[in-house]
């Protein structure tokens, strides 16, 4: 089943994608599958094990099932301070 996912990119992912957000139609079942799909398409250098994922503004496990209309953010390694 395909679903429409809103993705927001930050930092190195935003630069590698060349935009800050987009809506993508995917058949990926989980956040993990979805990142693999995007990484293959856009050549993101960071593997999933260096990232965290947030679904609808909350950190979530990589195995989270995706639902139509979900908002996803892939969180590159942080560096505040």
């Amino acid at each position: 089943m395909t679903k429409s996912i809103h993705v927001q990119y930050f930092a190195i992912l935003r630069e590698q994608r060349g935009l800050a957000q987009e809506k993508i139609t995917t058949s990926a079942a989980t956040a993990s599958e979805f990142y693999d799909e995007l990484r293959g398409r856009h050549g993101f250098t960071l593997p999933a094990d260096r990232l965290r994922v947030a679904v609808n503004d909350e950190f979530a496990p990589w195995g989270s099932a995706l639902s139509d209309g979900d908002r996803l953010v892939f969180i590159p390694p942080v560096a505040g301070g």
């Binding site: 190195i12 947030a54 969180i75 560096a79």
Partner: protein, 150 residues
């Protein structure tokens, strides 16, 4: 209060939020933009954040500090945007009855914020190269090799 700020931080205003007649100690920490990192001359930094998630995670850290230490109040503010040398990137302030818990909680908050809050830092080097800190995927595992100039 945990706040992501696109405006310059005002330590005096932040500290006023902590005023409390029960407080006998106020420990503060300021993080400044410095001119070197990993042997590279740095001339500026860009910070960006996922503000919603950052403020949620930041509030969790402040609540943890309240639970772990005997403190009265805690505030943290982190700048986003383009910063130059000497600019303040982060401010943490903690009040307590006594200094020990104020120092310990202040240290806990800045350490956890650096490790967990979705804030990213891009360094601009004197050489013209740039790098997103902690995001390198090539080169020595212990170092953060800067990207080649575009």
């Amino acid at each position: 209060m945990f706040r992501i700020s696109p405006e310059p931080l005002d330590p005096a205003a932040l500290q006023r939020r902590l005023l409390d007649p029960r407080a006998g100690a106020c420990a503060t920490f300021e993080g400044w933009v410095r001119n070197r990192n990993d042997g590279q001359a740095v001339r500026a930094l860009d910070y960006e954040a996922h503000a919603t998630l950052a403020e949620k995670e930041g509030l969790r850290i402040l609540a943890e500090a309240q639970a772990k230490f005997s403190i009265l109040n805690a505030v943290c503010a982190h700048r986003v945007g383009s910063l130059v040398l000497g600019d303040m990137a982060v401010w943490v302030g903690v009040t307590a009855e006594h200094r020990g818990d104020a120092f310990d909680a202040c240290r806990y908050i800045i350490d956890e914020a650096k490790a967990r809050v979705p804030i990213w830092k891009k360094e601009h080097y004197a050489s013209g190269a740039t790098a997103w800190i902690n995001c390198a995927t090539r080169g020595p595992a212990s170092g953060i090799p800067p990207a080649k100039p575009q």
